[in-house]
């Protein structure tokens, strides 16, 4: 489905670009003069040691933080400031480092919540849950069921997410992001705290999402092995500065990256 607003971007063209962006909290420069782009259809990784500014970067992209300097161009539209709900409406969805779901609600309801932006009937009809609102809900439910099938979480459809193990919560969160039918999916450490099997499952899902829905994915990840296997291109941050950008192989052999990860004698 075409995301509302903005012109179409062909596969391989730049979907989002970040130019000379800087962000400071008081005297601390979290992101310093960083530029990179995300092409449509690719899996783009942002990596770096702790405190490198990865999450800040993600928060800038989806409009949660406003950079003091620089420009962000999404689908050809350049903006200095974007608010999270604009980002969502524009087709950017995300998951969080610490799962942010409605814990008392079932997996199904959580994923349905991801459809909110796509529901057109007003509150009055939705409260009545009758007539056109009912028809609309059925349509959305069908889409949600496709996602449930896709992520293979049928057995936890009716389980409150608070009762689920962490790995499954992460999957539900991914489901909610997918329910928005985003053009750009931002994943903040999708594998954090997972065991090997869960990591492999999650990698499979990310690849499938990219392949099946053609969704562009930008992800932050700690696990180097996972990043190198999954991504098409990698950008490396260290202390808020971009130190490398390229294919996994290029990045792997980059001396600055090796130094940043392994440390150097000063």
């Amino acid at each position: 489905m075409k995301a509302p607003g903005g012109p179409e971007v062909a596969a391989g063209d730049v979907l989002l670009s970040v130019e000379d962006v800087s962000l400071a909290f008081g005297g601390v420069k979290a992101v310093n003069d960083v530029s990179f782009d995300i092409r449509k259809g690719e899996i783009r990784a942002i990596i770096g040691p702790n405190g490198a500014g990865k999450t800040s970067m993600l928060n800038i992209i989806n409009g949660f933080y406003h950079p003091q300097q620089g420009r962000i161009t999404f689908k050809g539209e350049t903006r200095a400031k974007m608010r999270p709900h604009d980002a969502a409406a524009g087709g950017i969805a995300r998951t969080f480092q610490n799962v942010a779901l409605f814990r008392g609600m079932t997996s199904l309801d959580n994923i349905m919540a991801g459809r909110t932006l796509r529901m057109n009937k007003n509150l009055f009809w939705q409260l009545l849950r009758f007539g056109p609102a009912m028809k609309e809900e059925v349509e959305h439910r069908a889409r949600v069921e496709e996602i449930i099938d896709f992520l293979k979480i049928q057995e936890i459809r009716r389980t409150p997410v608070g009762r689920l193990p962490y790995g499954l919560q992460k999957r539900v969160e991914l489901g909610r992001a997918l329910a928005m039918e985003p053009e750009l999916l931002l994943l903040d450490e999708p594998m954090a705290g997972m065991n090997l099997e869960e990591k492999e499952d999650m990698s499979r899902f990310i690849l499938d999402v990219n392949d099946h829905f053609g969704t562009t994915v930008a992800l932050i990840e700690h696990d180097m092995g996972v990043v190198m296997d999954l991504s098409d291109r990698v950008v490396v941050l260290d202390h808020g500065v971009k130190i490398a950008d390229g294919t996994p192989d290029q990045v792997k052999s980059n001396q600055a990256v090796i130094d940043a990860y392994l440390g150097v004698a000063h």
Binding site: A142, I148, L196, E197, H212
Partner: protein
């Protein structure tokens, strides 16, 4: 009566034609897809199977050849079986969770050119062993996900094959007549299916079953249990297991009942509740897991509910079984049971999905008397049967009203049973196999000269009830050094009836005394640990915990006491035991795919532990290779403690 017509139909494709004629508008199959139950009537299934068979024929499937079917219970895979049989080809179902090596053995042994599979997982598995399968030409899949970028020169989706067949049938009217002739040409004496045994005893063998015999056997049990086209069964048992092919596929086609396929293997519990089957089969282990889960949840319930639950379970224990068996029960008892039914048993059965079950069977292993009595006392008509693949399942089954937990019932209609001198059970039955595929030597080995099949099980007819009792595998019955008869399974089953114990392996043959290795049940012991503030980080740590050992020691002591009560068994009391540091697993070859322990293999793998059990050491070190679910291997090491047990003097014997 509906099944009269089965006398006319000697193959499953002919039965399908008959069902479409008799029950055309009735549901034949249901499947939950994208959260909604989809239904196909018998007429619709016939149309699909005809199109599918035509499509397969156009790809090259020919009469008499084998076709592999790999996957879980999905309508398209059942239709694959039907479509293959329609063409006179022989379906060979393979367990969906078989590892690549097992899969390649069956596919190579059966000479398949076509593999009809569920999804990418199975295709990847087959492709990883492709060099061992030179004959394999085509793979046809149900679920297209992840397969878009695969080379499709020898890959098709079932949907495309069916669509292709449908188009061809529409374009050429003579094709329909040809297909009718193909169905008419299927012969009841030809092989209808080849079911590979799970391999409890070495490599698996292909059991060839013919259509005529299969249908005869199924007709007998359909009459025995009064199954009709109005019944519903949940098809959740492994497709490649004789149980599924018999209970669901064969009985379904004979009686015309509806088979419901679960959404996925994980959703079986909720699907059961939604479908509310009237015919149900579950191995004892499944029933045990269900009961454990209910009991654990009751522990967390409020005090009032818990009291009510336990009070009415007591009432059920007193009157339930007698009411179910139609025996006289006083008015007060009936009244109490009635109240219990409204307050406890009814809601409980509803939660478990048993509300509409009219006939339920369990088989495969001995069932604990308490477990068996529990289900019967809450009003579930649970019965036992005894059978095997070579018999096309049924050898004995318990008739309504004559149910005992320690017997498997009298011989089924038209089944002839004989007990050999060494105690082995021999039988002749309407559904018995025609031989092992490509293995006449093994076929001859399994039969007596006068045509009885040797089951390999030791048993005897109980004098009181006239029912058959099975004690162990005939070849597993060993002897202690003093000559005492030692049936390991008898001891293992006694211990396994404790909810805290998941698996037991007993040793004693050619030794001075009996020892056991125990696997704790993580659900039950984990919940106990939580309630008793026992802290643990892993299965291994919990298994080695001192308090867990204390608890298991109590169970072993009770088992010894109960063994002592039986004069025959007093000599095989357990002298030493240990708790294993890892769960026995089919992926490591320790269990068969049907979850039976492979005692010999385990003895080799844990040789150091067995040595320690007999040399008097207090603990032993062990490291074992394990296979993870993704196929990688790793090593688990542990130090396992061993405990000594006191032996209870035999009853009525001077100490």
């Amino acid at each position: 009566m509906a099944f009269d017509a089965s006398a006319l139909a000697d193959t499953f494709p002919k039965l399908l034609l008959r069902n479409a004629r008799l029950y055309g508008a009735r549901p034949s199959m249901r499947h939950k897809d994208l959260g909604v139950w989809q239904t196909w009537t018998w007429a619709e299934v016939l149309e699909i199977v005809r199109a599918y068979a035509t499509g397969l024929h156009r790809l090259g499937v020919r009469r008499g050849e084998t076709v592999a079917i790999v996957g879980s219970n999905r309508p398209k895979l059942y239709w694959s079986v039907m479509a293959a049989q329609t063409l006179g080809a022989i379906p060979v179902p393979v367990y969906a969770d078989a590892v690549a090596q097992e899969l390649s053995f069956v596919l190579a042994h059966a000479d398949v050119r076509f593999a009809l599979v569920e999804d990418q997982e199975q295709i990847d598995k087959i492709q990883s062993v492709k060099d061992k399968l030179p004959k394999l030409e085509w793979m046809i899949y149900d679920e297209s996900r992840g397969l878009r970028d695969y080379d499709h020169s020898h890959l098709r989706s079932m949907e495309d094959v069916i669509a292709d067949g449908r188009k061809a049938l529409a374009a050429d009217a003579s094709l329909g007549a040809w297909l009718d002739a193909e169905i008419a040409a299927t012969k009841g004496s030809d092989p209808s299916i080849i079911l590979y045994t799970s391999g409890t005893t070495g490599t698996s063998k292909g059991v060839v079953l013919t259509g005529e015999r299969s249908i005869k056997a199924a007709s007998d049990t359909v009459v025995f249990d009064k199954l009709t086209e109005k019944d519903v069964a949940l098809a959740y048992l492994p497709l490649a297991w004789v149980g599924d092919h018999y209970l669901n596929y064969a009985q379904g086609l004979v009686s015309g009942f509806c088979m419901a396929c679960p959404e996925s293997a994980e959703t079986v519990m909720s699907d059961l509740r939604e479908i509310g089957p009237s015919f149900y089969f579950a191995p004892p282990r499944t029933l045990e897991v269900l009961l454990t889960r209910v009991m654990i949840r009751m522990e967390d319930a409020g005090a009032l509910k818990r009291k009510m639950f336990h009070y009415f379970l007591g009432v059920a224990r007193r009157y339930g079984e007698r009411i179910l068996n139609g025996q006289p029960v006083g008015l007060a008892g009936r009244l109490l049971y009635g109240i219990g039914n409204i307050l406890v048993y009814g809601p409980l059965k509803n939660t478990l999905g048993f509300s509409r079950v009219r006939v339920a069977y369990t088989a495969g292993e001995a069932i604990g008397p308490d477990l068996f009595a529990f289900y019967r006392s809450i009003g579930l008509n649970l019965k036992q049967l005894y059978g095997q693949t070579e018999a096309f399942l049924y050898i004995t089954a318990q008739p309504d009203g004559a149910i005992y937990s320690d017997t498997v019932g009298p011989a089924c209609p038209h089944v002839d049973i004989r007990i050999a001198e060494n105690g082995e059970v021999l039988f002749k039955s309407p559904g018995m196999f025609s031989g092992y595929f490509k293995d006449d030597a093994k076929t001859a080995e399994a039969m007596t000269p006068d045509g009885y099949v040797m089951t390999g099980d030791a048993g005897y007819f109980d004098e009181k009830t006239g029912h058959l009792k099975i004690i162990d595998r005939a070849k597993d019955v060993g002897k202690l050094t003093d000559g005492t008869l030692f049936p390991p399974k008898y001891i293992e089953n006694k211990l396994k009836f404790y909810p805290n114990i998941r698996e037991v392996v007993a040793y004693g043959d050619k030794h001075d005394f009996v020892t056991v290795m125990i696997n704790i049940d993580l659900t039950a012991v984990g919940s106990w640990a939580e309630r008793n503030n026992v802290v643990y980080a892993s299965y291994q740590e919990l298994a080695g915990h001192r308090q867990v050992y204390d608890m298991i020691e109590k169970h072993v002591a009770e088992t010894n006491a109960s063994l002592a009560a039986d004069k025959m068994m007093a000599g095989i009391q357990i002298k030493r035991f240990l708790i294993l540091h890892k769960e026995l697993d089919a992926d490591d070859g320790e269990l068969t795919r049907t979850q039976k322990v492979r005692r010999g293999f385990i003895a080799e793998r844990y040789a150091t532990l067995i040595k320690a059990l007999y040399d008097g050491s207090k603990e032993a070190d062990i490291s074992t290779e394990v296979t993870f679910e993704d196929g990688r291997k790793g090593v688990i090491s542990a130090r396992v403690k061993i405990r000594d047990m006191a032996v209870v003097p035999a009853m009525g014997q001077a100490a």
